[in-house]
Subunit: 118 residues, 2 copies
DNA sequence: TGAATATATGAACAACCGTTCATATATTCA
DNA sequence: TGAATATATGAACGGTTGTTCATATATTCA
């Protein structure tokens, strides 16, 4: 794959196509970040948490009850979601309320739901 | 977590919230499918392949050259993308051309790019 | 037909990831 | 202050996943 000559015939034919993508302006690094973002969406627990927060903010305890999972598991996932800037939190006494951080999130999940609903 | 009484105080307070999410009409199963979909987007190689196909259909060999990866690795990932109905293929002689299967895909990736571009 | 080419696929290995368990921190209230 | 409660976190374990390697299939063309 070092050189076009050593590659298959096929590659010689579509060099222009390849160059076009290379010059598209979206860097490999940005696509890497994008994959990281989708990786966060790509877990059942986290998607269910995000979906729960569509309507209202919720505390760790509520989410744990809703999903029938331990507080610890939920807390770990909320940490991942927070690092990805998908949720934010607000502390009220002992309780921490989580909510969606961004309106993009509903759009992304909405489009995904369209796709899986076909 | 069996019973509201045995749960924390907090849960008692937000039972209505929990019920509202439970009755939202989107099932656990559909959210599971949604996570599966995003899981497919959540890999650098696959995202780069999908992005490459934004502009044009491409053969396995072109994609391998573009990403500097082996034909085998690309072929394996194209299989995953095809199973998820994100790409479709067309055979022309020895060559197999892949393209995006659905217009939702560009929207989802576009929204994702918005999020990571902040 | 047989060599060359393009793609597909099964097995295996390493790396990654989500949960659990134990424990720590933070806050309230008696 | 000390008990009780809500959340956070580190370590560890088991399961998943992406790549590589070897090999198989399919197609063209001499």
């Amino acid at each position: 794959m070092v050189d076009k000559i050593e590659c298959c015939e096929c590659c010689e034919h579509h060099t222009e196509l390849i160059e076009r993508v290379r010059k598209s302006g979206v860097s490999k690094e940005r696509l890497y970040d994008l994959a990281e973002l989708f990786k966060v969406f790509g877990d059942t627990t986290r998607i269910r948490i995000l979906f729960a927060l569509f309507k209202n903010e919720m505390c760790v305890c509520d989410i744990a009850e809703l999903l029938s999972m331990t507080h610890s598991a939920i807390s770990h996932q909320l940490r991942v979601l927070k690092q990805a800037k998908l949720v934010k939190c607000r502390k009220d006494g002992k309780t921490v309320f989580y909510s969606l951080d961004d309106s993009h999130i509903e759009t992304i999940i909405g489009q995904g739901l369209n796709h899986v609903s076909e």
